[in-house]
Symmetry: C2
Subunit: 396 residues, 2 copies
Amino acid sequence: MSAKLAVLGHGVVGSGVVELFYKNKKNIENRAGKELDIKYILDLRDFPDSPYQEKFTKNFEDILNDDEVTTVAECMGGVEPAFTFVKACLEKGKSVATSNKELVAEKGDILLAAAKEHSCNFFFEASVGGAIPIIRPLHKCLAANDITKVAGILNGTSNFILTKMYSENMQFADALKLAQELGYAEKNPAADIEGHDACRKICIISSLVYGKHVYPKNVYTKGISDLQLCDIDAAEVLGYAVKVIASVQELENGYILPAVMPMLVPFDNIISDVKNVFNAVMVYGNGIDKVMLYGRGAGKLPTASAVLGDIINCVQHYHTVNSLTWESAENNDFVAPIEKFSSKWYFRTASENNSPEGSYTSENGTSFVTAEELTFTQAQEKAKEINALAYLPVLE
Amino acid sequence: MSAKLAVLGHGVVGSGVVELFYKNKKNIENRAGKELDIKYILDLRDFPDSPYQEKFTKNFEDILNDDEVTTVAECMGGVEPAFTFVKACLEKGKSVATSNKELVAEKGDILLAAAKEHSCNFFFEASVGGAIPIIRPLHKCLAANDITKVAGILNGTSNFILTKMYSENMQFADALKLAQELGYAEKNPAADIEGHDACRKICIISSLVYGKHVYPKNVYTKGISDLQLCDIDAAEVLGYAVKVIASVQELENGYILPAVMPMLVPFDNIISDVKNVFNAVMVYGNGIDKVMLYGRGAGKLPTASAVLGDIINCVQHYHTVNSLTWESAENNDFVAPIEKFSSKWYFRTASENNSPEGSYTSENGTSFVTAEELTFTQAQEKAKEINALAYLPVLE
């Protein structure tokens, strides 16, 4: 038995898929239980130095119309033309594994339905958390749980910046510059530092866990560009690390509340120990209590590893995996507004204020954590009332 | 479509399986894609207060000979009669999910072969790390990697004791007593504190990752009963936490080296932050770099969650999952002896000794970590040479 593969896109992830495939071919074939080979690599650019010259094509139709190709890795990124290509593959019964979080967050419901209709699979382990097993654990290993909350660090760039601010007292701008120099941040870093990248990932997790498509536009998203070093310092004294937390929780009456924002993570929560470019996701359920999955959330080979893990699963499964699915939901009326979010909060006020119990006063002002739970709206009001210079929620 | 289940054993885990199944039945059926019910519970004892009175049987034949029962959860523990019962079920084509680490560590190869021969499945996610997804990530999500090492904390009882010694300066005997009072340790705590429990789990991981059955009797196993509080204190000053690490690494020429022993874990390794009864497994591979899986390694509902996750997979799969397997290997000649183990080492000597650079001297002696790598044998010799009172390897 053998199977022929195609890889769409030869950028960082796509070239990583080809590299790791040939590096570990024997092991991959052992796990898959059959011989495998890459027959096509699709890219509009030329790669004259590639040892796989004869596999390159610029014409997607070559792949679509070759019945020998049963399985496709999509690593182009962006919604189009990825969406058109992936949908066409699925409609021909070719299973697809993708690393493209934008595609899954915007069009996952449509592609999952197409896969089901044509008895093949649409897998996307690589789209959330790079190398970290998240998607399969959520719908397979932890499937017997009612999952009450998922919360984690889903963007390595912003976590790297926060780690440098925390451990080396760097200002935000300097830490961002270092991240850019090291290749962790793009020239235009907005998607990472404003939280949009993490937002797409928590949308995918929310859709899978709660069964209905959640769109990025409906998720409150706040990044780290206005975080002050003094808040990170004060948080440390008060017993917390500042982390960008992408989370989704189950509320009453079928509502869910996804959000992305900087939060205070208590030092006794192991999420506070996730440093540099590493990502981690904590899953809370009524059987497991909590389980954390940790690793590299991006990068060439870590992401390629997840794509190839899915490819192995594609060639093992001849029918659609029915636990990996969710419904369309044009109208996201089950997504609660951020005003319903409730938490303890951290406030920083000008130093002339009275210092509440447990507070920390420095030249930058008085910082403290409220003991009482406040909704997002109440926290906004209190911040106004006490002239807070900054305020952040605490991760429970 | 519907499927009937049987649960063998109604102790802590078995009763947890029944409890969690009925608590989350709707969700479980959604993920499984069909209706499910428990038809039998096997136990020799009477449970007059159970609401599932009519499901109890004392006769295994009732289950074996009922063709309606397609899937069985084995939660009896111990090798016999579990082995006989599980093998008989598999030979009838009934898939089995087990939480029984002793069974898998001693007889996994035979049971996997029986499952394959009869086109059903033998799953054991619950046998390693309780609620933590480990087995499926190893052969599914991370399948595209050459895995070079696995290292982790696989016994919650000993980790709880070490945490208390570290954070509350408790002596070993007092921490053990507390663990017993809290129900974390048995009256006879040998399996936990001497490392045998962790040994069985690393045998299962080693067998799955490297493809040949590894027997507990061939694995070097050392527990924590002779650890001194002063070594834990000195390790902290030198930048390390003391943890019982169950590990397996790939050596050259097809050899592997599994072992269980207390080790020094640097504070910048997140394994050092795994506290109390929590377990964690770090997997190192040539694509992923490293991935850690963390959660509750034992307990009624966490373990039941893993059993039920496997049950859902049993009823989804109509053919044997061919990536979850390993060969028999009566003669474990690919398992390298502990003498080949190589590491940096920690030594404690009587305080009158000369103090090497970077050492810490207290009333308990001088403690230091060697910069050079020493084999197990060389470390033994050096310890003798310098009259070391204690010595432990460092986890890289």
